[in-house]
Symmetry: C2
Subunit: 429 residues, 2 copies
């Protein structure tokens, strides 16, 4: 374990990278967000913003607009577990400009396999973001009005410190020696980024799924640093069925001999195990109704006249296989293990005696959003948050997206999310 590592003078040290670690992308010096002036203008001198966490994960998506903030260089960042990381890098992207009063900043938190790229930065930015229709000029998260920040969680694999990061002490990727991080740890790391950006209070923190968990943690851990919370398709704690699905996915990864106890960097890695985990994930992100509508019992054309096979036969199988392979091309299996464990461990009430005692700490309006057909975090789990906040007399609104798309609704049904989100954001300004 690398915790309590001796302080390093520099985040990036040639000696701190081993043969498994490719050179990190050098996009730190890219143009500022949106082609505009550097967003966090006037903030404290850029310290620590150097480069991505040196990573052995060779599938980091190259992106011009990603920036990096590194902290805990001199003092370890102590995690909820008591273990520590030193240093910690956060990859982030910003959209729009921070107002002189610094009161228009919104943090967007991503889900399990998301990253800092929630939207395009302009016409010269080819890659759609995971919340593309919601973030941009004139959109709900209006980049003409708001300063949007989206960062890759710690434990992730797209530029922030995670299990693929090269441990500065050993010079090898952490792998399974990476400490377990929690949703609370992710948020505490984001708070350090918030300090660095010179933002005292977020106008809002918003996110779906694992992002929604981070939103709740923000409200409970940093009640005076948020003016509005938008947790979407997220529970106040992980329930056993969701934990069970995660565990099956982890078993699929760890059973893959190419996982090698987590030390697979430089080799192919557990691509088959990760694909299987993703296939299962994709089922839980959808719904019986949406799968029926999309696939029915359709058979792939090449099998139409010989359906008696154990091999891929139905369109739904072909779709899952495709989704599994796609994830493998952009996600690190160890991050999948660590982030799903963070999901399991999530209980916003931890340390506060009860959910009511935890949510009592929230000092701002909350918009809770649920998706009617969500089987992963069913709406009763959002109702629990709403009813607890109501019983405490907290200002809370609830919007239920009436969609057949299941959990993925928060990444699909933008037109249904826009009205309640727009109204809520307008009420905060």
């Amino acid at each position: 374990m690398s915790r309590r590592a001796p302080a390093l003078e520099q985040t990036e040290s040639a000696g701190g990278r081993d043969a498994c670690a490719p050179a990190p992308p050098t996009n730190t010096a890219g143009p500022p967000p949106g082609g505009a002036a550097p967003a966090p203008s006037g903030v404290s001198p850029v310290i620590g913003t150097t480069a991505p966490a040196p990573s052995a994960f060779d599938k980091i998506t190259p992106r011009r607009y990603v920036r990096y903030f590194t902290f805990a260089q001199d003092e370890p960042f102590v995690l909820e577990s008591g273990e520590a990381l030193q240093p910690v890098t956060i990859a982030y992207e910003t959209y729009g400009r921070l107002s002189p009063a610094r009161d228009n900043a919104i943090l967007i938190a991503h889900a399990l396999t998301g990253d800092s790229h929630c939207a395009r930065h302009g016409p010269d930015d080819p890659e759609e973001g995971w919340w593309e229709p919601l973030v941009g000029p004139g959109r709900v998260f209006d980049t003409d009005k708001y300063f949007i920040v989206c960062s890759n969680v710690i434990g992730g694999c797209q530029g922030s410190t995670g299990p693929a990061t090269v441990c500065p002490v050993s010079g090898r990727p952490y792998g399974s020696r990476f400490p377990v991080v929690t949703i609370g740890d992710m948020v505490r790391a984001q708070a350090r980024l918030t300090d660095y950006l010179g933002i005292d209070r977020w106008l809002a923190v918003a996110g779906g799924s694992m992002g929604g968990m981070q939103v709740l943690e923000w409200g409970v851990r940093f009640p005076h640093r948020v003016r509005g919370l938008i947790p979407i398709a997220a529970p106040a704690r992980s329930y056993p069925q969701a934990i069970a699905y995660n565990e099956v996915g982890r078993q699929a990864i760890m059973a893959d001999p190419a996982w090698q106890g987590g030390d697979y960097y430089g080799g192919p890695g557990p691509v088959r195990g990760l694909a299987t985990a993703r296939m299962l994930g994709m089922i839980t992100y959808q719904s019986d109704a949406s799968m029926l509508r999309k696939f029915g019992r359709d058979i792939i054309p090449s099998r139409a006249d010989r359906p008696y096979t154990l091999a891929k036969l139905f369109e739904v199988e072909s779709y899952l296989e495709y989704q599994g392979k796609k994830l493998v091309d952009r996600f690190d299996a160890n991050s999948y293990l660590y982030l799903t464990r963070a999901l399991d461990l999530f209980d916003v009430a931890r340390g506060y005696g009860s959910l009511a005692e935890a949510l009592q700490r929230i000092q701002c309006p909350v918009l809770v959003v649920g998706v009617s057909s969500d089987i992963l975090y069913p709406v009763y789990q959002q109702h629990e948050i709403v009813s607890t906040l109501r019983s405490l007399g907290k200002p809370v609104q609830y919007a239920e997206i009436d969609s057949p798309h299941g959990h993925d609704g928060f990444l699909i049904d933008f037109h249904m999310m826009e009205p309640p989100l727009a109204r809520f954001l307008a009420s905060l300004s």
Copy 2:
């Protein structure tokens, strides 16, 4: 492929077994069912009833009361796919006595990992059956009144011909060379057993899950051989979500290097892959509510003070691990592959143009049973059967078990199933 194999004089041939194949258990000569006289008394001379299908699966549960019927010794048994098996053995158990009029026989069909042992045969029979509380003297399936037959499906691994069976042509276990069987093939094989037992018409055919699919096939394929049908927690066709779950399970098995393309007999086999598949299956057999009630977010005691781990942590994980390991001790991974594929392929309307045209063939009363919290075959799928039968003017009753146990309700909520089952059976007699 072994289909269209030359006819064999004998089912069992020493030369037809290879080194992987243990000697089959010799329980054919065990005492007759229930300690009573041989049940199918007066039927045609016992031909072909010899021994289990010679099997390379070394975890066949030794059972005194299992009997074997072998057919297709001289003529191949042609499957829906056009491929064939020769010979075919069916392991079965019987309870109670066939009446002189041969009008009291009930066939019980098992689910995915079930077998012929639906209940104990008496006090000297130590092993509980999978429908124990429903089958026996004075129980709903009253063995003082009815002659109960329960057989292991073809494709299975508990005595009937399946992928672990030693192919009489090659002398090696079929493995992946076993032909794909369908629910219809299982039922057509059961019809051969029915002939052999001298039963013209079943008083009823009953079963849950995959067993319920067999029930529907009986009604549609052999409408004049059944007087009552009890499909429980089963659909008229597999929908894509259920296919998707099966596919993830299969991928977990086939990704296990110990699967070896299906030729793993004599070695450990894909125990880890099968366990993972089972873990996933267990989630789909339960419900969010039942898992919440059973496990909550409880942590296993040994981890209580150090929960920050990727290793087994929550009670629900421990439970799944246990269930996975348990299945591995009694089930053959190749059978898991073939039987889940049979589930996927199941569409009782196949070949009939529409569900209505298929169900139009049914000539007897039907009791459809659903479990309110079933997430694998949700009640709308039973409603579809009921409404189609009603629209055709067929005599159909529907009973919904109001249970939190999910799909497994048909193996748990006996007290709720008993009244409708008892009424329905009484109405048939």
